[in-house]
Symmetry: C2
Subunit: 393 residues, 2 copies
């Protein structure tokens, strides 16, 4: 067999992730590798921790990137905070709530579900009713931004409810981090995890986590050892958190260069400005989509600006639509997950990709392909009279 | 606070890892990110699997990179193959054997140690004696190349012993993979893990694993669910192994570009030639070190060419020696781990870094610094009469 260098096609990434990466971040990842105990690297690690604290809006000492994707960040929170037999209240309104349930079961925890319809927010009243029925529960988990449905739940209120009943909270902020308001200390979130891609626009493969003193205290009081050696936060803090920097595993050097650069860029822009930019471009995209006659899965007040979940018009094959966008326009949009497969597409506007060029390109490409697929859509932004009449042919 | 772009110093990496990365691999990591379900990416994944099979010398279908460092590769083998209550024979002759023991305990397994002195190979007779005493053991784990001591054990013979008693084998090939002879199918290794750095010279952060049909069969026959969702090989094969490519986690796209390129380069060079190159440069380094009067921890026939563990001369502070090499020569060599801390340095010759320029630079720098530290060493390769006499001053 013959193998050669892989030269990827240049796509526009407007799915639920990964997102377009800024050239500065791509360049950073190509810088010469240095050792994971090199003093220069250790200083860079300190900067990463400081910038993550800014992005999470926290003073938590335990704020580090896990050396694996956000799936492992979720598992980190679960294996460190849940012990066999622990009751955990799990808010589920999409794929990632269900993933949390699965993780809790694998630790021997007992998940109690608070279920809301896919496409709707987590209902704080339902959460409160469930906790009242399970006063022995120690933990509540929730997804702030459900990537599978494009819903932004009210994490602040949900955390308040949990605390009212002395429960710790684990929050999934994978798609909100850097793109939507998130204030870990002000809202009192106890443990949170996110990813390096999406609104940060770094390569996938790292998962920043942050735990407050209450969560750290809970880990110290565990009855049994943490079941994962790789994700044991006590051991990880020996490398990331201590002055001695004891070896645990070899850190992913070049991806961490990328994470550092993406955080520098977030810091330069300012967190509030980044939140506003995501909101602004979501509105521009929404106007265009609505002008085309397309509708959102989620009602306006619950929408996550970063992931726009659009109902596929009747008669349009969703897989063909996505394939044509990819093949003819090098444009990636996402498929529906789970119960939504085949029924929706997910359009991401995240990080570097949340810009006007992407918004306009996506609207034009979508309209052109839908037009050719003879979808029963209204005349829209880029459709002239001649084109409209040809729909009848 | 003010943060700016991190520009790493340009080091020569001759520790136990990470290693110098070839510019082709660095460039690959800076290529534009594409989606983890993009057809172009899926083809690249297939090539990675095929090239990993070549590098492992196996036909195993289940041959994939785990999206995390080799520590997670080890954990993958353990959580998939070990169940609570399982007796596992663990060969320990350094840090990484002990790490395996720790992993097995966290799954609820019962490790039975076969201990050899640090700096010596795993003794096949001791292994056999131990298995005979524990005929209910299902598994044997061993480290082919102990990075902490610079020892290459005879994996082929050890696996034969294990199979004689119907035990499956897990082999740690983190430092041998690509650099020393390793033949997974011919030797009958059941499960093996390695890393993306070291002899492959890619960024740290990925861990190729390979499991044969016997190991896959053992996973299918498990009594209880695998305790890690992230490292569950059944789920991972749904993404890496199936035609449908179901979403599990978002793959670390850019690091995988790097892994692909490093495997292309290994393929271009040829596996046997890479093994020979590592051996050849080890010999060159050895000659120079011996001419300086320095001695190896490990006897000649057990030495791992990739990690040269050198005893620090009496009177020389090992930490100062390493710091001076780093600060004055931008040269990284490794410290001793565990019981060997302060007593040895570890000089890596791996992957792209196994070249004559590095060998000569390392010898010159080491001699110059040791000379200035007035170590009681013999006259050596780069030391002239005047310098020698000044030692007496």
């Amino acid at each position: 067999m013959k193998f050669k260098t892989f030269n990827p096609p240049v796509r526009t990434l407007m799915g639920p992730g990964p997102t377009d990466i800024h050239p500065r971040v791509l360049s950073a990842m190509a810088r010469p590798t240095i050792g994971h105990l090199d003093p220069a690297f250790l200083s860079m690690m300190d900067e990463i921790k400081a910038m993550l604290r800014y992005a999470f809006q926290t003073k938590n000492v335990l704020t580090i990137p896990i050396s694996a994707p956000a799936t492992a960040g979720m598992e980190t929170c679960v294996v460190n905070l849940v012990e066999p037999g622990d009751k955990v209240i799990v808010c589920v309104n999409g794929v990632f709530g269900l993933r949390m349930k699965e993780n809790i079961e694998r630790v021997g925890g007992l998940p109690i579900l608070v279920e809301d319809r896919w496409g709707e927010v987590v209902d704080p009243d339902k959460l409160e009713d469930t906790i009242k029925k399970h006063r022995d529960a120690r933990l509540v988990t929730l997804v702030q931004a459900e990537t599978s449905t494009g819903v932004l739940s009210d994490a602040k209120t949900l955390v308040e409810v949990a605390h009212r009943y002395d429960c710790l909270t684990i929050v999934d902020a994978v798609t909100s981090f850097g793109g939507s308001p998130l204030k870990v200390d002000e809202w009192g979130i106890d443990a949170i995890f996110t990813c390096s891609q999406k609104c940060l626009s770094c390569t996938p493969g790292l998962s920043p986590v942050s735990l407050n003193d209450r969560a750290v205290e809970a880990i110290k009081k565990r009855r049994i050892k943490i079941q994962s050696w790789f994700l044991d936060l006590n051991l990880l803090m020996g490398y990331w958190g201590s002055k001695t920097r004891s070896y645990h595993h070899t850190a992913p050097i070049n991806p961490l260069y990328g994470l550092h650069e993406s955080l520098v860029m977030l810091h330069e822009e300012g967190l509030e400005k980044s939140w506003a930019r995501h909101w602004h471009h979501h509105h521009a995209l929404r106007s265009g989509l609505e002008a085309m006659g397309l509708s959102f899965l989620v009602k306006a007040e619950a929408r996550l600006p970063q992931v726009n979940v659009i109902q596929v018009p009747p008669g349009v094959d969703e897989a063909i639509l996505r394939r044509r966008l990819l093949e003819e326009y090098n444009l990636e949009v996402g498929a529906g997950l789970g119960a939504l497969a085949g029924k929706v597409i997910r359009i991401g506007l995240m990080g570097y990709g949340a810009n006007m060029k992407n918004v306009m390109y996506c609207l034009e490409a979508l309209e052109a392909v839908l037009f050719e697929m003879r979808a029963p859509i209204q005349t829209g932004v880029a459709m002239n009279a001649a084109q409209s009449s040809s729909i009848q042919n």
